[in-house]
Symmetry: C2
Subunit: 356 residues, 2 copies
């Protein structure tokens, strides 16, 4: 397989699954964590490696070593593997997904931004999502179409129990303190703002072709999705918060063996709470975004810039959502009718939010 | 259809479903609630009616009116319907099930005792259970075989929150005070002793062909079953505590329309507790009974007599389980190799427990 983003938490878990099930790795792509990448290259012996910076190329021992975004696209053309695991972070993940699909490959997609930004232009039949929530929906549905609504769950993020009046003062480090999952910085902040869940609703929109989707907070992160059927039945999927489960399915298809240890539900209590727009102001645009899902590109670009500005101390925590909503209103009437327009809007929104 | 036991809670709910979906009723069987039966006969105009007592025959207006157990068996032979809903209570339900299967009919089975007592002699491919728990298991599995365990839930019954030391003093009326379901007296007592759940495990044993089955207490009675799959996933089925859902499926097969109102899980908290053998002493024989499921006849007969003696004030609440366990030990080495032996053991156990 090809693994884009091998040193992040999904990349590491993917290699763990590859090790367990004896899967070959033809190509690895990583950013700046060269030491971890070196160890991965030593263990999995890929033919092709791509690093972010030209100056890191010489530190990697492999038959072919390239660098940068163009390096990734070029390497994808060289690769023989029919499966590409895309665990890149942010907008950077879009072009490699488009390229892989163009090359007839199957994409196991952990990069949310791909569908959030460009779902309209992507053949989702070539995509298996690596995401506990979409995996759980798929696991429950198994092709059943007689549902009335799909619900994914949210942990509520690092600040879910903070007093509302203190939220404006939350620091970058405080927003990184996630209660249940250990993940990269970007997605952990997205979890605290609930932007992550908004993105997952958009992904579900493109993957399952429905707008009958919503989210609830389930604080233990053990129930990942609920499906309400027309007859009045509800099915819930629960499992340990361990990405190896959706990863193993994305890599191998239907499995009949142990991937993660089963849950003991006698030790927990499960509760489900609606998402409060006072704590998660981004939720105000949820319904409108599901009506205009192509505007995901606006929300994503605004979010990436706003998080960076929050990290730099230029914006307060609640201003992340505020900036995104302003951008959403400002660019609300844009039509996204081609990938070119999409890249153009992405740039426009980034400049707008850089000084909002 | 043919409906055996039309005036009990399942019978009434079955007629409610028949009314909703416009199903014809060819035959009604009821016990002593003649007034309700008269109203049902007036509404559904069955061709054949069977009452428990000969003296009630004249009170029913229908083309054919019979009485007693022989009347039921004879009427089944007359009936054209291919579907028999068996909602009779207790051991009385067994012979009509056997007769209906012999006649090539399909049985929607709410009478637990049929499978508990004689599962070994019954072609379960002709049976659809009317029971929230088995319905929930069936709904989750949909033919999937890659599970590691099936779990059904119990409410815990009327005395679940009583101090342990007071249980011995519980009266018949107190044990009838079920927290979540409104059902007949027999099953409500069985719920308080946990015998009902033991019976449901035996039913699951015969229906799903596995002994990897257990039960947990879920106090709200909203989650009816959980299935643990080999990969580490868990699926849960939840719905309102309303028998019309399993009844509608048993009568009509797969449904794509609203049967009960969907659940709002944001108003509840779900928790799962192991069944404590100090509160439910019958649970001590659970594992052994699943190893020797044919001994269900012993447990059932002992239970029916013990409940009657509890009602009469001859036994205390905890002595119900004690009597059953004594009978279980006493008849433990019996082999049940024919229906004749089964009926013989049933009588033997009843005499034994009448003076235990």
């Amino acid at each position: 397989m090809v693994l884009l983003g091998s040193t992040g938490s999904i990349g590491v878990a993917t290699l763990d699954v590859a090790r367990t099930f004896g899967l070959g790795v033809e190509m690895l792509v990583a950013g700046r964590n060269i030491e971890l990448l070196q160890r991965q290259v030593e263990e999995f012996r890929p033919q092709i490696v791509v690093v972010a910076r030209e100056e890191d190329r010489s530190r990697i021992q492999a038959p072919t070593v390239l660098s940068g975004e163009e390096g990734i696209l070029h390497a994808l053309e060289m690769a023989q593997s029919s499966l590409v695991v895309n665990a890149l972070v942010g907008f950077l993940g879009l072009r490699p997904t488009l390229k892989a699909i163009e090359l007839g490959k199957r994409v196991a997609l952990a990069n949310k931004e791909t569908l959030v930004v460009a779902g309209k232009f992507i053949d989702t039949s070539r995509i298996t999502p690596i995401d506990s929530e979409h995996f759980a929906l798929w696991y429950i549905l198994q092709g059943r179409g007689d549902y009335t609504s799909l619900t994914i769950t949210a942990s509520g993020g690092a600040l879910r129990d903070w007093p509302l009046e203190r939220l404006a003062q939350a620091s970058f480090e405080e927003a990184l303190n996630h209660p249940n999952w250990s993940m990269g910085a970007k997605i952990t902040i997205d979890s605290a703002t609930m932007v992550n869940k908004l993105f997952e609703l958009l992904e579900a929109y493109w993957l399952f072709g429905t707008d009958r989707i919503d989210a609830l907070i389930e604080p233990s992160s053990l129930v990942h999705a609920l499906v309400e059927f027309r007859d009045g039945s509800l099915l819930l999927h629960a499992s340990r918060a361990d990405m190896r489960l959706p990863i193993a399915y994305a890599l191998l298809g239907r499995l009949h063996q142990r991937v993660v240890e089963p849950l003991d539900l006698t030790r927990v209590s499960l509760s489900f709470a609606p998402i409060d727009p006072r704590r998660y102001p981004i939720w105000q645009i949820k319904d409108e975004l599901l009506r205009r899902p192509e505007l995901g590109v606006v929300v994503n670009a605004a979010n990436e810039v706003a998080i960076e500005r929050f990290k730099q101390g230029e914006l307060g925590f609640l201003e992340i959502a505020q900036c995104i909503i302003e951008a959403f209103d400002r660019f609300h009437h844009q039509r996204v009718d081609s990938l070119e327009t999409l890249f153009h809007i992405d740039r426009e929104v980034r400049s707008y939010v850089a000084c909002c």
